[in-house]
């Protein structure tokens, strides 16, 4: 347990873990205090996500390159996946879809933008591995197209029944997971040298790895805790949103995405401050494409097992536009391989435009 205690001293964020039992108890004694439960669960998820992220990396490091890479790739967005599964189980498909779309937008605009901005405030111009960034951006762009195109097209056909959309979504989910598997084969096996720089930087930049037993135990316990807290979060979020005057779309797109991605964001920003933009860009775009190619499709498949009804991949048209524009911008911005603070500021401004628009949306359109 020593490394765990050391981690606690090193990372003051982890003190927030004290809120995990608080929120679990509060949910029992005051199930109607939605605002309180919402705030507590958000604050409790952030340190859990950080622990989860560290545990995953430790396991990955111990298990060797290929399996480790696979683990990192699969569990890297475990927090997002667990939160979305809680929402899926509750039948809140609007929230699930908004959180998937929002995670793509938040990672490719806000996380990338904040990295460029914070890095740029310290360094005049930063360069990063253009080939790697291009490939990452390409994957993301392609993944997004695959994810949003059916929405754009299905939408135009109002006569199509739900059964048809459902069948299509199932087929597309399988197709996307195949694409994700091929992507892993490509980046971990056949062409790993293109991504090598970023991976090595990641290993160096990371905190010291935990022993495997501790890591696996933490992984299991923390995943369970995230699941429990997520359930409370999902139950309270709708009511809390009404009180805060937030639309459901805003909650899913912005709040859930920022909460779920807090851990990765910390790593990406700290890497940017150390002039390791390769790593920041890799985390931001890699995480976005993982959600588009893996988390989203897996949720569709899981909806057959744990959801009240099957979920399809049909998004609200505004979300489709935002996701498509975000990935287009990320692809364009990163194709040059250079950055400065203003690029980051503009990415954040675009994110603010989207957030502002979602904030004023009336409840029914989320």
């Amino acid at each position: 347990m020593k490394p765990l205690l050391k981690e606690f001293r090193r990372n003051p964020l982890l003190w927030l873990l004290a809120l995990v039992p608080v929120v679990l108890v509060a949910a029992k004694v005051a199930p109607a205090a939605h605002t309180l439960l919402f705030v507590l669960s958000v604050l409790a998820i952030v340190p859990l996500a950080a622990l989860l992220s560290h545990a995953t990396e430790s396991v990955a490091e111990k298990t060797g390159d290929a399996v480790g890479g696979l683990l990192n790739a699969t569990l890297g967005n475990l927090t997002e996946l667990v939160i979305a599964m809680a929402a899926l189980h509750a039948g809140q498909y609007t929230l699930v879809k908004a959180s998937v779309a929002g995670a793509i937008v938040t990672n490719s605009l806000f996380m990338l933008g904040a990295s460029f901005l914070l890095g740029g405030l310290k360094y005049h111009v930063q360069e990063y591995n253009r080939a790697g960034a291009r490939l990452h951006a390409g994957l993301l762009l392609l993944a997004t197209i695959a994810l949003v195109s059916p929405s754009a097209i299905a939408r135009t056909d109002l006569a199509a029944g739900a059964v048809m959309t459902q069948k299509l979504s199932l087929g597309l989910a399988v197709l996307l997971i195949v694409g994700y598997g091929l992507g892993l084969l490509f980046s971990l096996k056949t062409h790993r040298e293109i991504f090598a720089g970023a991976e090595q930087a990641q290993a160096e930049a990371g905190e010291p790895a935990w022993p495997i037993g501790l890591a696996l135990g933490t992984l299991a316990v923390v995943t369970l805790l995230v699941a429990l807290v997520s359930e409370i979060f999902v139950e309270s979020v709708q009511e809390a949103a009404k009180i805060f005057g937030m639309s459901p779309a805003f909650v899913g797109f912005v709040v859930v995405a920022l909460v779920g991605g807090a851990a990765e964001m910390t790593v990406a920003l700290s890497a940017a401050r150390k002039n390791r933009l390769d790593l920041s860009v890799g985390i931001a775009l890699g995480s976005a494409s993982q959600i588009a190619l893996f988390v989203g499709p897996v949720l569709v498949l899981l909806s057959y097992l744990i959801g009240p009804t099957p979920m399809d991949l049909q998004f609200w048209p505004g979300a489709v536009v935002m996701v498509f524009v975000s990935t287009l911008v990320a692809a364009f911005i990163t194709s040059g391989g250079r950055s400065a603070w203003f690029i980051g500021a503009l990415l954040i401004l675009i994110y603010a435009v989207f957030a502002m628009t979602l904030y004023v949306l009336p409840p029914q359109s989320g």
Copy 2:
């Protein structure tokens, strides 16, 4: 006739030509056997397209650079044009438009993707002339915008009468053909050195040229045969589609495009296996832009002569999205000048997404 016989021995595909008389007879004796006629006509068009392609190249080679380039550029998609004309004559405008949009999508996603994939399975990383590819992709992007923008815009205005849309389509068709002419002037005359590499590779990669008499004779006879078989194909395709459970959109987009482009596809793929990606990219993107800038507009003009009523350039919104996304992806992917197998796999996956979506579409929305 010797070179023709030699060609038959070299290319086993040509044995399918035996089906040409079979389908012509079958159409007489069993005009209601739609499925049979559909399958036979598809199988008969493939070798005819290969012959047509070889004859065009032979004529082009004999007539010298400028005229030859012009011929290649004009007759390069003769099969697509003849099939579309048969559909035009039958008043099947939905099929005509789907085949135009589908040929752009199929060339810029499937043909390009298959070239990258097959080439990438043999070579670790392949490089190609970036400047040429950029220019090709630029032409294609611009052509597509010109082709789809009016659809996007005209669609928003429901009050506009058909007369207005028709007038606009006529004007745009003329504009696009002017653009096509300027493009030929640019690539064959004023800036031919940019494209020179790919052209030379094409000449080398090609089969030995036929004597001019044989080539011209083949061109005339085969065009006539394609026209006859296309008529049977167009008549049978709707009924056959119903039996196979395919939507008309799927037939136009996927089946017609693959059948019409089979000959070019063979050349592009074999070039990719020989590490001549310049040629593959040139064929895929060049063919797509030719269809957008030349075949489409010519069909609009021809509809005044051979169609029951004038045809406009207003596409189904889903087709507009697919065409726009395809060319955007092709432009982004080729701007780097490098490829690996995964890029090809993803292009094909996107194509599969589109094909899957079209497959489940209900009949009325094609």
Copy 3:
């Protein structure tokens, strides 16, 4: 006054200034002669815009780098701003929005295209500062997304009341002006070396600067004259459009944009003929992004002061598509850093496609 007279001899366009008093008198004696007033006011605005542009540059040059750059950036589109203010005051919000969208499209397609075409007719291939162009194009792309995204999204939600859209537009206007301010900080202060080449070229290419008193006086008087003539222009344009058979969308998009940008266009084209494409690209894309990030938002804010009711940022969907496509094309085209005549020709053809489409639009859809 000597430099002013010298300017008159140098620039025959300025003789059109004689039409300024003519149009002012004509508006008094024949307020119903809409066609005459329209033609006269268009012809009178062109030389006024040229004078305004020269006066602004002279003041900018005298006041030193930072303030000068700020002035140039703020007053560079003064003519467009004044015309739009006249339309704003008359409550013609459709015309205001069309002129904002049209100025972005006209600058990024027509002005850029004409520069490439005219430059390319003289030089085989022209190169320009790729980093600067990329940054300019990036700014423009980002600005446009910020401007059009809310339209695309707001549009999908028919239930949203006008109040909500209005609140959002106000917030976005402030956000965009913040982005514009940060952009100035970036290009004039923290990273000015990236833009240095184009600025220096601009200073050299420009006409000799006027004394500060003359410049300031001209600025004040000419702005007043533009305002007076614009009022006549705005009053007459609707009736004249009907007579010429032009839709209001065409008038705002094409006529107002070309009239308002005539002065900058002259400078950009002459720079292209001198093989100074850095300057041409900078003017075309810089002007477009200034209108998107500054003129548009300022008009929203001004509508609270001088308009009959507040104006929002919700554009007609066709305009959104055109603006988005234009900036996408400009970003793609300029990312290579090379140009030839055909690139220019195609940009102009796309502009012609848009203009043709707008021309045939029925009046109510503008």
